[in-house]
Each structure stands twice: as C-alpha cells, then as structure tokens.
C-alpha cells in the first residue's frame, strides 16, 4: 500500500505531466496550422506553375496530418509520438541545410521567423514530449 507522501508525489507528477502536455498541445496546434497554411501555399504554387500537385505538397499535407494525429493521441500511443519525432527531425534537418546554404552564400542566418517556426517550435515540442515521457510515474498514462 502506498504511503501518504507517495500519493502526494504521484499526484504532483501527474499534475506536472498534465501541465506540460497542455503546452505541447498548443504548440502542436500552431505547428499543424502552419503546415496546413504551407500546404495550401505549395498547392497553389504547384497548380499555377506545375499544373498539378507535386510530391512536396503531399509531403507537407502528410506532415500536417501527422502533427494533428500526434496531438490527439499524445497520451495514449507510442507510434504517434514516434511519427511526431520523425516529422520534427525532417523539419530540423531541412532547416540545418537551409542555414548552411544561407551562411555560405549570403553570410547571413535564415530569417528570424524561420528560426521560430522551424527551430524553436520543433525543439520545444521534442524537449517537452521527452520530459513528459521521462517524468516518474508517467509510464502508465503516456506509454
């Protein structure tokens, strides 16, 4: 039988995990909305210049869906979190390539909004999801 301090510890850990999950959910909502907007922009450009949908439009749409699915199933499914990590990793790798190109060609960093939406946002999501999964007593509800 759990002692009183243990019960308090479990409750504190659950409250902490719940608070962090709330932050993750709003960050994922913003990221998903940005990916939807990006899909529409890419779709319009593809229709205007390529005459049809291109693989990048489909990949962006797939990333948006993956983010929203992960947001909905963050608490219950490990595969949803893994898919989310893959999407965030792709975003970060592409930003790394863009930053390298920008530094080499123009000797400047990428625009600040790109840093916010493609570095701060995904890194925050990865870090917070990681903290939530590592929180003691969290395996039962998050795994």
């Amino acid at each position: 039988m759990a002692s009183v301090p243990d019960v308090h510890g479990v409750m504190r850990a659950q409250a902490w995990r719940s608070d962090l999950l709330e932050v993750v959910r709003v960050l994922l909502l913003l990221q998903g909305a940005i990916l939807i907007a990006n899909t529409l922009e890419a779709g319009l450009f593809a229709i205007a210049f390529s005459g049809g949908l291109t693989p990048t439009v489909l990949m962006t749409a797939a990333a948006a869906i993956a983010v929203f699915v992960a947001r909905a199933r963050l608490c219950s499914e490990r595969p949803a979190r893994r898919t989310l990590y893959v999407v965030e990793a792709i975003v970060l790798v592409l930003l790394a390539v863009d930053t390298a190109l920008s530094l080499i060609i123009t000797h400047q960093a990428v625009p600040p909004v790109a840093v916010l939406t493609r570095f701060v946002l995904p890194v925050s999501v990865i870090a917070l999801v990681g903290r939530v999964t590592r929180t003691p007593h969290g395996e039962g509800s998050i795994a």
Binding site: D19, E22, N38, P55, M59, T60, S102, I105, T106
Partner: protein, 377 residues
Amino acid sequence: MSIGSPLYTLEPEHGAAFVALVLFALGAWLFRRRIPALPPIDLLLAALLLGSSAVHLGLAIGHATAGGAVRLLFLADALALAFIARRVLSGASAGRLGLAVLGGSIVAYWVATAGGEPPDQLGLANKLSEILAFAIAARPATPARVRSATGSVAVMLLVLGTATTSWIGAFRASASEPGAVAGHHVHAGSVAPPGTVLPPATTREPTAAESTAAEGLLLATRAGIARYADPKVAAAAGYHVAGMSGIDFHANNPAYEGDGRVLDPARPETLVYAIAPDGRAVLFGALFVMPKIGEPGPAVGGPLTVWHAHQDICFSLTPPALTGVLSPLGTCPIGSITMPLTGEMMHVWTVPGAPQPFGDLDEQWKRAYLNANFPKR
C-alpha cells in the same frame, strides 16, 4: 545596392519595437525570482502577452512618421495586453477580454498589411506569438469537445489569415512602386516583391550610347537564338525543353550555365517559351544568368538593361523543381530547401512587338499576342 523584399527583413521603424522586446526579455530574466509559481501554460501565456505589449510600446515610439491616431492605437494595444498579462499572472484566466484584445490586434495587422503596408519579420513573429497566446487563452477550462474544436479552427484561420494578408501586403507594397510599372524602369524599385532582389529605381534616362548598346544586345540576341524557335534544335543544343507548359516556360542549358561566358547572345543560359492556344511552342526570348552568385551583371544599356536576382526561393529535391517562395511563416514545403540567393539574371524579349525588350514582359500582352497570332484551331 540591390534590395530584397521587406518580408524577410526588419523594417527600420520597427527597430524600437525590437529593442523593447529585448529589454523585456532581459527584465524577465533579471526578475525571474519574482515570477509567481504558475502552471507552465499560464507562464507561457503571460510571457507572450507581455512580449507583445513591449513590441506594441516600441511600435508607438518607433512609428515616428505615422499619424497620432496610429501611435495611440499601438499604445492602447500595449496597455490592454499588459493588463491581461497581469490578470494571468495573478492566477485569473485571460477571459473573453483577452481573446478580444488578441483577436483585435491580429485583425488590425491583417487590415494594415492587406492595405499595402509591407510586412516584416518582427510583425510576423509578433503575430505568430499572439496566435499562440490566443490558442492558450481559447482552451476550455474543462474538457469540452465543441469549444476545443472551435478554438482549434479559429487558430487555423488566424494562421491562414496572417499568411494570406502578408502575401497580399508584400506584393501590393511592391506593385505600388514606380519600378513595377511596365516600361523601361521595370524590375527596379525600393520595395521588391517576395522572392526577388531588385536594383534601386533609377530616374535618369539612358544615354545615346546606352540606347545603342541595348538595341545592339536585342538584335544580337534575336539573331543568336532564332534557330531555337524549333524546340528540337534547342533540345539538341542541350536546353531542357521536356515537359513544356504554360506561357512562361524557362528551358535552361546546364552546359551554358557552367561555361563562364557572360551575356553571349548565341549561348544564353535559358530560353523562354510559351505554349500558344494552337498547341505550338513559341520562342519569346532568352534569360541571361551570371555565372557566380553575387557577381553584378554588366550594365550594357544602363537603366534599360537592369539585372535582378531571386532570394529565398524553395527548391524541391524530389524531383528537382521550383516549389515556391519562402512563406511569411518562414517555411518552404516539406522536402524543399531554401535557396537564399541566385545569380543575377536578365530577360531579353526577342518576340516581335514586345512592349519592353528587357525586364518583365506584361502577362496580358503575352496572352493577347498568342491569341492573335496562334489562335486555337
């Protein structure tokens, strides 16, 4: 000095707002021990509100050329955002007032940008942070599916609206420039459209020697590329004409792009075709590209022959193709990389009767020319 789109830069009159934001961040760090113990989501909301308040305070100071009413609105927004942040820090919710102030601030940005105010990085970052604050404030206090879904849809619409009005603002600001008017000053101006780097607008007229040189370049190019009116001949010379479509198809020649020759009328780096209503490919002209990024093109015809470059354009790797221009949201489509800058380039339009032989060719004129000379059979 060439000029890129303000969409990817910080406007000088937003400098004070940036300083205010940095000072706020510094102050928050210095007084971090006085920050009340609140759930992380509430601390994030308070930080976003106070950050936006600092930005609006800076905008009220920095917009020295704006009218008193505009500066007063910035100040009122700063005070309202600070008031809501104080409520959140005291443990209360942002409430409907919070949603109204944040929504009003975002819609005010839409009105300004859609009206032709060029958007910049500080404005966009500020709106994204306000949308995130709106997403937090719109969360239902207790699990409620309908309200949660409504809040999510509202956040998506706010992001879409911000992106759309930013595109409109960036293009409208550029379209109102004298360099955007069809004529010999085309492709110059102090506000470039997104994805383009332009030389500054010039008001001087070309000298007689420059006019003669420009005419010589046009005639030499017309003679040099005449044989490529047949796309099969162009293909045999190495131009990528496969998959030709639309009225602005650019067929590049990788061998000529890498040969180091500059402005060679017989070996332009790219040919421009249009597919006519009757289905045939019509050669409209050539695009000369400088071999190295950052190397200025020779100004043979002075203000008549101005060069431009492209910035922050998206290239797909699967398959290699142009997929757009860097979004106001800072993203290219997934699977694309951002090319920060291209080499300088210049169009020469050899098609008979072109209203302007250099720079941009009017889209409506192109269509009218094709319909008149190559009608649908």
